[in-house]
Structure formats: C-alpha cells, structure tokens
Point group: C2
Chain length 423, copies 2
C-alpha cells in the first residue's frame, strides 16, 4: 500500500482562512476562522505538495484503473483506510461532441457530463467526501440543506455507508430529487419557504442535535471533493489545460472546487498554466454576477429561475467563487431562462446529453460569451454539465413540448407526419 504514509494525513498541513490568512490545525467541526470570525465558507485545505508528489504522479495515474475520484486519493483530505461508500463517483466522461461543436462553430469544445454520477449530479463528488469525513469523526448522522442535488447525493452516499441523514429542502425542490431522497431512506424535511429558510433551519437543527454538517459552503472538505472534476478534465485532456472552463454558479462551491483543482495541479507542477473560469448564473437569480459586474459586495437576490440548483439568492460560498473568477482572469455573466431551455434542447439534439437546467447553464453562457467575443471559437473550452435532466422532467417538457399523439392507424400516422413535413 503506497498510501500508508498518509494515514495521519501527512499530506494535509491544515486549514487556511482565505480572508485573514490565519493557518489552523484541521480539527473536526472547525468550519469558521477564530481569528477573523468570518463564517461564509472561508477555510481552505492546505496541502504539502512535496508529500503528494512522492505518493502520486501523472505516470502512475496513466496506469491506474480506478475509474472514480479515488484515483486521486493522495490529493484528497481523507485517510486512505477510512471505509468508503461503494458508489462509483467521478471519472465522468469528457466528450468532444462534434455535432454541438459544429452548432457552436467550435472545433475544440468539450463537455464534461457530470450527470453520469451515481445520483446524477456533480454533487456526488462532495457528498462522498462528507460521508467519509463524518465516518472519520465518528458521526452516525449527517444533515444538510440543499436545493436538491446536494441532498440526494448525500442521501445516496450515506445510504451506501449505512448512515442516517436529515435533509432540508425548499418546497420548490423538483419531484425527481425528492423521490431520490426518499428512496435513499433519508429523513426529508420539506421546508415551506425559500432555500435560505431551509438553510437557516438546518443550521439550527444541526446545532441542536449535533449532526455532522454537510452544508457545502461551510464544510471546508467538500470543495476538495468537487475539485476532482478539474483533476479529471486535466487528465482526460492528457494534461493539456483548456483555455476556458465554463460552469454554472449557485452557492459558489462548484466553481470554487474547479479552481482549487487546477491550482493543486499547478502547484504540483503537473500543468504549466491554469484555465480561465467563466461562472454563469440565471438572470432570474444572479447575486454573484451582479457583484462581479459592478465590482461591489454581493447582495441577496430573488430566486426566480427554472434552474433550481442555482436558484440561490443568498450564496453561501461567495468569496471563493469570486476569487476563482478573479484569480483565473475569467469572467461572469447571466443568461435568461429561455437561453437555458434552448441550451437543453441544443445539447440534447446535437449530442445525446440530457442536462438539467442548471446543468446546461454554463453552456448557455458559453454561447453568449462567443457572441460577445469574450471567448473565441478557436479556443479550447470545457463546459461542465453538472446534473442530469431526468432530475427535473417538468422543465424538460417545458423546453421541448409534447409528442405527436396518434391512434394506432397508418392512415392517421401518414396524415400527421405529412402535416409536420416529417416524411
């Protein structure tokens, strides 16, 4: 076992506050900075990259047949011998869909389909780490609030591990995501209010009953799970870093994870530059885009978008998100719900990939960035599809309408197909 050396997490130096720079020992339950008192997702895991470089290399990875995030075990803040859920999380396909490329006028367009994770969203990358960290801290019950995907992924990983969960979802969570939760045996609390209400109630409940806290923006380890999407993109592109990575933004944890992954690789010396990161929100809920564009602190926003996974009026990880865009020399923008529905149709019909609304928001943003000349059609771009459209069939139907209905008769079929110029 080459990993024995890191049983005591020798590769993790500790946590660092992204505001005041204070370095802290990584202790269970330490989620806020005692030095500056900030609470909004501000601790970062600090690694000893020289230790990691002794444990893993690009060459070793080339022969690693573990097609999950655990191929990057020495880059994760977990003990190598902690029991892990059996679910195959990560190593999602990176496609180069030629049909979509033609549609966008791009030759080097890639789509990372994270809807192919066990519970059908990128959030599985964070949740499996949450469950493992909870196990390391001897917790038996985990809780979180979520617009849906974080919840269903936590419930899935916890079920696979035999742990109990309490999940707080806003009343608008799509049926598919709620069904997943219940099937995974979670205690599901549908909070009759906004995501903000669900988040606040979960925080109080976690305090009261001492459950393990999987709220992604608070728990510093979850970004570490999410960063694996960037590690995979780099490896799947044979360590040729793309010019841009575009991704949707809600709380801000996913974009922060993408950035952390590329930073890790750069510091390890495995890549020689980092990509620019484009963060995309819906115009119906764009507190971070507004803050970015107007170069001011973010302010709470309404949650008026079909893209439920990123309908986050009070983002919980704003600073790391804005840092990812700023430090990568990237950009942010908002797209309309109509553009999101159009992206669902275009991605599906040109590539056979079914993304949920928030899942294709990055792609909708890419289209606009190309129109605006911010991204050139010659550049290498990876659009991350963060979740599967099966989670939100209602909005998919909205995007595409209804099928052609016929009685079982050739005469009627011929008439209707001819009327639609289909034959």
């Amino acid at each position: 076992m080459i990993y024995l050396e890191v049983i005591h997490l020798k590769h993790v130096l500790g946590l660092r506050c992204i505001f005041c720079g204070q370095e802290l020992a990584a202790k269970p339950g330490l989620y806020t900075c005692p030095a500056c008192g900030r609470k909004d997702g501000i601790l970062d895991v600090v690694y000893d990259y020289s230790v990691i470089n002794r444990l893993i290399s690009r060459e070793q990875l080339a022969h690693n047949k573990d097609n999950s995030i655990f191929r990057y075990l020495p880059l994760l803040p977990i003990k190598p011998d902690t029991p892990r859920p059996h679910l195959r999380v990560g190593w999602s396909p990176l496609y180069r869909p030629s049909g979509l490329g033609r549609l966008m006028g791009m030759d080097k367009l890639y789509v990372k389909d994270d809807g192919q994770n066990p519970t059908a969203s990128l959030k599985d990358r964070a949740s499996i780490i949450a469950v493992i960290k909870a196990k390391e801290e001897n917790a038996t019950t985990i809780a979180c609030s979520s617009t849906g995907n974080a919840a269903s992924s936590l419930a899935g990983s916890a079920a696979a591990m035999g742990m109990q969960t309490f999940i707080f979802v806003p009343s608008r969570a799509p049926q598919g995501k709620v069904a997943q939760l219940l099937i995974f045996g979670a205690n599901v609390i549908s909070v009759q209010g906004s995501y903000e209400d669900a988040f606040a109630l979960s925080a109080e409940a976690i305090d009261k009953w001492g459950w393990y806290n999987r709220n992604a923006a608070i728990n510093p380890y979850l970004v570490e799970g999410k960063k694996t999407v960037a590690l995979e993109i780099a490896e799947q592109l044979d360590w040729q870093v793309p010019d841009w990575v575009v991704v949707s933004v809600g709380d801000g944890c996913t974009i922060a994870g993408v950035w952390k992954g590329f930073q890790d690789l750069y510091r390890l010396g495995w890549i020689d530059r980092v990509p620019k990161i484009a963060g995309v929100q819906s115009t119906g809920c764009s507190p971070l885009v507004d803050a970015w564009r107007e170069n001011r602190p973010w302010q709470p926003a309404a949650e008026n978008t079909i893209a439920d996974s990123i309908a986050v009026g009070v983002p919980r990880n704003p600073e790391k998100a804005l840092m990812a865009v700023r430090d990568s020399h990237g950009t942010m923008l908002a797209v309309s719900d109509e553009a999101i529905l159009a992206a669902m149709r275009e991605l599906g019909a040109s590539s056979g990939i079914f993304g949920e609304p928030a899942g294709v928001t990055g792609l909708a943003g890419l289209k606009l960035l190309i129109e605006q000349g911010v991204i050139s059609q010659n550049e290498t771009v990876v659009a991350i599809v963060t979740g599967n459209g099966l989670k939100d069939v209602k909005n998919a139907i909205e995007a595409v309408g209804e099928p052609l209905k016929v009685v079982p008769s050739m005469a009627e079929l011929i008439t209707k197909l001819q009327a639609g110029n289909l034959v």
Copy 2:
C-alpha cells in the same frame, strides 16, 4: 491497429436461425429466416472464436483503459472503423453492497448498476450498436417502438451520431422517458394504445418508409450489444463466474443478451462454466414465466404492472429468452408489484442505488428465490439493475410516500421529528 484484420468482419461467420439451424450470410436487413419463415427474433450472430482469440485476450483487457463496451470490440458485430457515437456506454459499476447483502443474508451479492449508462438504462448497449449498424448500412433514419428505455437510448445514440429517429411509444410511457426522447430531438409518436399497438404501427411505418429497424427482438445485432453486460460482469469478477445472474424479462432480449455473452466467453475458453440465469417478470404481465412454468407455448397476456419497461404482453423475443433459462439450467418466476416497490425501497435505502420498477424486478425475484430455497444465501449472485429510477418518478413516489412538511420554525420541526420518533 490490432483490429485491421476484422475490417471485413472476418470474426463474424454469419447468422444462424435458432429454430431450423439454417446458416445465412449476414446481409443488411436480413432479420427473418428464409428457410423456416419464423420472424420472432430468431437469428443469432455466429462468430469465429479462433479469430477473436487472436485479436483479444483476458490479459490484454486487463490493460485496456477503454471503459465502455468498445473494450470488447472484437466481440461485437461491427466494423472497427465505423464512426461511433461519443457516448460512454457500458462498463457500468458492479457493486458488492454490504448493506443490501446483510439485508438479504448474503455475502456474495453483487449489483450491476446499468442505470449508470448515458441515457440511464441497459438499452444503451443495444442502441449504440443499432446506430453503428445503421451507419454501416448507410441509413440516415432509424425507427423503433419501445416501452420507453429502448426509445430514449436510441434517440440519445442517434443524436450523438447526427441521425434522425422516429420513435413509437405506448401512451403509458413514463414522462421522464418521453422527455428524454424529445430533448434528444427524436420525432416521437405517442401511440394511443398498448405496446403491441405501438410495435405493430412502427413495423408498418418502417416497411413503408424504409427506415433502419432498431426493434430489438427483430434486429439480430442488438442482443450482441446487450451481451456486453455479461462480458463486463465476468471481467469485473476477475473471470470468476457467478452461480446466478438474475434479471427482469420483458421482450426477452436482455436475458438473451446475458446468456449470449456468457456463451461467447465459454466458447472462447475464457470461463470454465456458465451461470444459471433467473428471469423475473411481474405477476401483472408474465407470459414467459407462465409458459416456462407450465411448459407450454407462450400466450399473449395483459399488461398490468407498474414496471413499464417489462409490461410486454406480446414478447418479441420469447424463444431466445426461454432458451437462456433452459440452457443455463436457470429458472423463471413472477413477483408482485408490491414486491417490486419494496425492492426499490430496500435497494435505495441500503445501497444508495435508485432503480426503476423494472430495474429492480430481478432483485425482487432474487428475494423470493431465496425464500423458496431455489438460490442459497451462500451462492454468488449478480442482480442486474437495468434502469435508473429517475426515469419514473411517479412510481418511486408511490414506493416511498411524501416528505415531512414543516414551516421554517424550530418549534414545529422539534414537534414533528419527536412525533415521528426521529430524534
């Protein structure tokens, strides 16, 4: 390129009628046996195993990083240089879920989660082959009838390949599956009638307009795609063949594919025995189980089950299905819809795997076979989960009920959790 040798399909000797044994050259559009005139899915692809054994070995596979069905290219009836859709089909995870094992009193219980395919069902294995064969035959339009999964998988693979599709679904097809079809840009014809009606209308339309026929039971190449699930099970178990493989049965093509895969491996000399195959239907629609139990020809049955993917009253591949059970010394049985819903709950809560009703029907059957003493708890068993529960959220909700609803108030939360003995 080690595959150049088979460009002219030197590894395929031809087709053989499973009834009369007639051997036929594999020609485009040849789906029926001219010798005996039978039409119901009776042609089998015949390989030259000595050629295949020169092209691929267990040892080569151990170093093959292609995590899709195309790792078995020399075992597939396609030209190696035919363009292929980019979708990552196959190499789905084979889990050994300890929680489910404990629940079933089994130590060597494996679950093959084929809901992890691109369009979330095992059918992707067949559809991607259909699209490739259509390309080889210079077809530009493909058609099929389906209870849902074959349709959405065909639409996905065809979209990825830039081909047009006409899809006939019965009116009862779940919304999730129809949404997938429309997103993938298929021309969807919702036939207001049974699966049998949809099948008959599609057959007439295919005849009239000359579309490529993906109807699985007719097209002899599709079972060849489905067989890859067996190849993967064997490889993932390090070529230790399980005692049993349990799988749900509708048309009969999937169970036929499972059997064909193990037969191929046995004939290649890669495994030294074959597993017993257990085929499971719902008591609400069990024409093949009834035929098997009463040792008589099958008769059309009603389609009264929530397991829509196997609600097939007139099975289209009955003979290959019954042969799989008979020749493997396996068994068949039917389970109630209640048992299917229970299996959904148990699999989800113990393992974090969300199967659709037909997807978990094999597992429900396994439970009964253990109760009946047909399968022993000590045996090694693989249950194939054929599709993801997100495709049919309505029935999932039926299985699990509704979440706990609370207003955003700790007082109400405490009261309700205490009332449920949850804290």
